[in-house]
């Protein structure tokens, strides 16, 4: 940790989040949109870990509450990916498409 500051990590995390955000807006394939959601979750994880390392406590150790929160985020994201991909497969079976512009009705 020689010369890197907290702002460097926050900048990388923010740019990663921006990339994921742009991907969600630009891409029309629902699987790619899903991957970009994962990218945004990971950007949040990166800034949490950077803050955890930055706030060294009185005992000289990093703040582990943030790392526990990252652990929870990873767990919930894995569950979310499983459910989301199952929904995508069901949608593909019904409609034969993964393109969001082809899916316009709420009920079919």
């Amino acid at each position: 940790m020689n010369q890197l500051t907290l702002n460097n990590y926050l900048l990388a995390s923010g740019l990663l989040f921006t990339l994921g955000f742009a991907g969600v807006l630009l891409r029309r394939n629902i699987i790619i949109i899903f991957m970009c959601l994962e990218l945004m979750l990971n950007a949040a994880n990166l800034s949490l870990v950077a803050f955890s390392r930055f706030h060294v406590g009185a005992d000289g150790l990093p703040n582990y509450n943030a790392q526990v929160l990252v652990f929870f985020i990873i767990t919930v994201a894995a569950a979310e990916v499983a459910v989301g991909l199952a929904i995508i497969v069901a949608l593909y079976r019904a409609r034969q498409t993964t393109h969001v512009e082809d899916i316009q009705s709420l009920k079919f």
Binding site: M1, L4, T5, L6, Y9, L11, A12, G14, L15, L16, T18, L19, F21, A22, G23, L25, L26, N29, I31, I32, F34, M35, C36, E38, L39, N42, N45, L46, V49, S52, F54, V56, D59, L61, P62, Y64, N65, Q67, V70, F71, I74, T75, V76, A77, A78, A79, V81, A82, V83, L85, A86, I88, V89, A90, Y92, R93, A94, T98, H99, E101
Partner: protein, 155 residues
């Protein structure tokens, strides 16, 4: 990491996109290890680069996405997406340039060898016991939901 992230959103082929996402996650795990969060780095590789991305690639193979290559990008979506995300990026730069606390380097640790798995575990089971059990229930519900979703045909 950021270059691979760019290639996730610019690649036409979903398989290439997914592989760049794997690379991006591995680089992110390296950053975690560089921040002395070894446990989180290992979990990142195991869960994301392992399980989640295998699931993604499996679904892409299963659905056989060929039609994506013929599609062109929507003009309005490109203009709107670039505008909104560059506005977000500019705002981020502004906020970070005025955040003076973050300009110091990271403080040193008191120990040279960190046993962070023990520390994360202690924190998890001491202060976050109830959320841990709630997450367990959540994973159970997600498992049942996936089974139900993939069994029944949607009409």
């Amino acid at each position: 990491m950021l270059a691979l992230g760019v290639s996730v959103i610019l690649n036409r082929d979903p398989v290439a996109s997914a592989l760049s996402l794997v690379g991006s996650f591995v680089c992110l795990a390296a950053l975690f290890v560089g921040l002395d969060a070894f446990f989180i780095g290992v979990i990142q590789i195991l869960v994301y680069a392992g399980a989640v991305m295998v699931l993604f690639l499996f679904i892409i193979m299963l659905l056989d996405l060929r039609s994506e290559k013929r599609r062109s990008f929507n003009k309005l979506a490109i203009v709107g997406g670039v505008l909104v995300s560059s506005a977000f990026g500019a705002e981020l730069m502004y906020v970070l340039s005025s955040f003076n606390q973050g300009k110091h380097p990271f403080p040193a640790l008191s120990v040279t060898r960190l046993d962070d798995v023990r520390s994360v575990g202690t924190t998890l089971f001491t202060y976050f016991n109830l959320p841990f059990q709630v997450v367990g229930i959540l994973v159970l519900v997600a498992t049942i939901g996936v089974v139900v979703l993939s069994r029944r045909e949607l009409k």
